[in-house]
Amino acid sequence: MSIQDEARLRWAHLQTRRHFLKSFSAGVGSIALSSILGPGPVMGASSGTDALDAFATGAPLGNDPLLPKTPHFPAKAKHVIFLHMAGAPSQHELFDYKPLLQRLDGQQTPPSLLEGKRFAFIRGIPKLLGPQATFKQYGESGAWVSNHLPNFSRIVDDVTFLKAMHTDEFNHAPAQLFMYTGSPRLGRPSLGSWALYGLGSENQNLPGFVVLISGAAAPSAGASVYGSGFLPTVYQGVQCRSDGDPVLFLSDPDGVSRDMRQRSIEAINEINRQQYEETPDPEILTRISQYELAFRMQMSVPEAMDIHTEPEAIQTEYGVEPGKVSFANNCLLARRLVERGVRFVQLFHWGWDSHGAGESEALTHGFVERCKETDQAMTALLSDLKRRGLLDETLVIWGGEFGRTPMLENRTGQDNPFVGRDHQSDVYTMWMAGAGVKRGFTYGETDEIGYQPVSGRVHVHDLQATILHQLGFDHERLTFPFQGRDFRLTDVSGRVVNEILA
């Protein structure tokens, strides 16, 4: 649709339904307006709300919903980088070292361990599978790390391991949704959207919530894991690419100059602004700010996304692969974005679903490849953030949507040259670093074969509560009214894991 057509359509709308509503309900609009500009669910009656200031001083409408906002209490984390290993990496081959599991390798699992358990694929009585890696202790903290992560093992004193994570879901899509939206079903806002809704963005020329995807496929839950749900869509994650156009459809179309683009956007936004004054639907604000953001991004995004301007040494340190889509490229991008004030950077790296049904899913092949693709880059990311002083205010989280069983999964029951493990939701490992999280610390403990938690369990809602806490929010108070009740990321549970906070 051409710009003229759109303008004509808007005008038509104004002449019909809007017009009727306007003449019919002069007062209703102002009531709705005050409910939008009044003390919001985030702010309460704080002194520093931009919206209130603007309301009091009679500033023009159309306040950008992405302007920086005030948290409940001083934030430790101003940024979050979430490194999601989509498909759920095995803790038994990375961090949760169990010598007994090695000794029991190949033995049948005792029935007592299987009673009342449900697995995604395992049927009957599986055999136990020893770790397909060798382990050593590293750092002053003495954390166990496998030989698959030779780089990461150097920086274990900077991270906190959560060894007894658990989730409610044992299939990828619902578990990913659960991790990011607090619910296994569609429709809720994602973690990054909540963060942006609560805090706004520090950089008005870049999206506040950026999603970077690498690996052979996108996360199985799709774009909903970075969607805004019922929050205004201005808070949804924007997927960027490290190769080609960083953001699709951002460049000017052929035959349209930047100047003409600017005048068009100004005209459209003027119409939208009039419309907002009549029907204060927050989605109109979203529309306005996204037109403006897109225009500003035409200049700023190519600059921010161009990792080739980084010094050679830095590119080597991350293991950047020019011209490709890679986890390393995305890690370097993540740092550049955080440095420029982007609030939330979500990385997905696909391919950790090591069932052992084929070579790419084997713990001895595909899994090892994934480790190689990520080890150097995530280590470089942490070191780079640290020496720039960014790790003080950036929370880095690594993990999958669940973990994997200590048992061998043999789906067909026939001889299989590859080994793999099934999904495990009761216990798995994640790690966090930076922004007020303890360093060189391990929280949570599993039993002698890494099958059940012993202490220090952390539920996905607890993790979410903790992330919001570091961003300066009481997870019980960061709410949004929808369909008659206040919703929050952690729904009706969640506990801040104070034990891991420095």
Binding site: M43, G44, S46, S47, G48, D53, T57, P68, K69, T70, P71, H72, F73, P74, A75, E202, K386, R387, R388, G389, D392, G472, N498, E499
Partner: protein, 482 residues
């Protein structure tokens, strides 16, 4: 009633009260035979209150009718009420001996309990013989006032502090004021300087223990009134030490307070005194287990989640430290608006906190003194990274007294003016990476003892310069990018 009989009544009342005062020592032990009577105090006490208020009503009615002479019923009510008060005072005194009531409210309740019978007898006398109306009025005022205050204190001890005022209708609230909340029990306003012992332990011991073990009496040879006395205490050989730091289980202090209340050695002795609350026991246990001793400041002792939770119940969940504990008035919003117009991002650190963060690539607004001086007390963080900051800006930052974080990374700063930051007592974080600072500049940082992290990657500093800074600031993390 004649003046003579009123005088006799006053004398007899005084004598009775004197007997109670002399023979019932509040710190003593109530005799068996008096214990039943003691427990009837709450029942007995309401009878005289009724009589006396009834007398008061009659007197008020009489004054309204311009009648000067008190009626027989009014005098009878006063006499009966007065002697009822004597009985209540006796029962109350024994009840005090049985223990279990908070000492501060108890003191005044007891004083007023003695005042009321005497005031009643005095009013009887004044009614028949006082030369002026004023004296009679004063006598009535004393009596009714004592009844209200004394009765209120009694109610407070029985039902808890906020009982009467809790449901005061909104518009009357300002009259009754804010009653003290639980927060006032532990004063955590200075968590970095006050010790755990002083802010947590002393208040607990004072309400539960020191009326027998300390304050002049040391039952069982135990004195818990001072740190020195506690530290010096030696227990019998068959007992564990009073306190074994790091092991509450093996500390006699904890052992005794967690015994079942029926146990003969349980403390405080039941039923003479109430057991410690669960919260108090846990807090004491935490104090011993943490090994905090008598000196360690509150903020330096790790608080497990259960303790955070308990303190949260006392309204002390979020304990603010350092610059966040500053109590400042609201910053000048017109100054903030003006600075924002210059392209600086000014944001509040948190809702309900008057602290600001400053970030912007252009440093020139810092030098608009007339405007920025108005909020310089409020700014706790300045981020000029990647911008045009210069050494002159560093000089200017020294005027912002409460800065906790300064980010000058990726700027042309050489560090020659870093000495101007010397007065910043809260400065914990200084980011100088990607600047031209050198070893000479680092010398200026040696006195900034609050510093926790300094970033020096990609600068002109050398290993020796960093080593010297590490010696000067042993608690700070100096990141050199190595």
């Amino acid at each position: 009633m004649t003046t003579r009989s009123a005088l006799w009544n006053a004398a007899a009342t005084s004598a009775a009260m004197l007997l109670i005062l002399l023979f019932v020592d509040p710190a003593g032990r109530a005799p068996e035979w008096a214990r039943f009577m003691a427990r009837q105090h709450p029942a007995i006490v309401h009878l005289p209150i009724g009589f006396l208020l009834f007398g008061g009503l009659l007197a008020a009615f009489r004054r309204w009718q311009k009648e000067d002479q008190p009626g027989r019923v009014e005098q009878a009510a006063l006499v009966l009420g007065g002697w009822g008060g004597v009985a209540a005072a006796a029962a109350g005194s024994w009840l005090i001996q049985m223990g279990g009531y908070p000492t501060d409210a108890l003191f005044w309740h007891r004083v007023l309990g003695f005042v009321i019978p005497l005031a009643a007898a005095g009013t009887v006398l004044a009614n028949v013989s006082a030369p002026t109306r004023g004296l009679r009025g004063a006598s009535w005022t004393l009596l009714v006032g004592s009844l209200i205050v004394g009765g209120h204190l009694g109610g407070e001890m029985t039902h808890g502090k906020a009982f009467a005022a809790e449901y005061t209708p909104g518009m009357l609230k300002p009259l009754v004021g804010d009653w003290p909340t639980l927060e006032t029990r532990f004063d955590l306003s200075q968590p970095e300087t006050s010790s755990v012992y002083e802010v947590i332990v002393v208040p607990i011991l004072r309400t539960n223990c020191t009326s027998c073990h300390g304050e002049g009496r040391t039952k069982g040879g135990l004195d818990l009134a001072t740190a020195d006395a506690i530290a010096a205490h030696e227990t019998d050989t068959e007992d564990d030490p009073l306190i074994t730091w790091g092991d509450a289980q093996s500390s006699l202090l904890i052992q005794r307070i967690v015994l079942p209340i029926e146990h003969p050695r349980a403390m405080p002795p039941y039923p003479d005194a109430k057991p410690l609350s669960h919260a108090d026991v846990e807090l004491l246990r935490w104090w011993v287990d943490s090994g905090a001793g008598f000196e360690k400041p509150f903020s330096a002792v790790a608080r497990p989640e259960a303790i955070e939770h308990l303190l949260g119940l006392y309204g002390l969940g979020d304990i603010l430290t350092g610059v966040f504990a500053l109590d400042l008035p609201q910053p000048d919003s017109s100054a903030i608006a003006e600075i924002k117009d210059w392209g600086v991002t000014i944001s509040y650190v948190a809702a309900d906190m008057q602290l600001l963060e400053w970030s912007g690539q252009d440093s020139s607004p810092l030098h608009e003194m007339a405007v920025t001086d108005r909020i310089k007390e409020h700014v706790v963080s300045v981020d000029l990274s990647g911008g045009n900051a210069s050494d002159a800006d560093v000089t200017r930052l020294g005027d912002f007294p409460h800065l906790a974080s300064v980010d000058l990374s990726r700027t042309a700063v050489t560090g020659s003016t870093l000495a101007h930051l010397a007065g910043l007592e809260y400065l914990t974080r200084l980011n100088l990476y990607g600047t031209r600072v050198d070893d000479a500049a680092l010398e200026h940082l040696a006195n900034l003892s609050a510093l926790e992290s300094v970033y020096l990657w990609q600068t002109n500093v050398t290993d020796e310069g960093v080593a010297r800074l590490r010696d000067a600031l042993p608690n700070a993390e100096i990141n050199f990018g190595e």
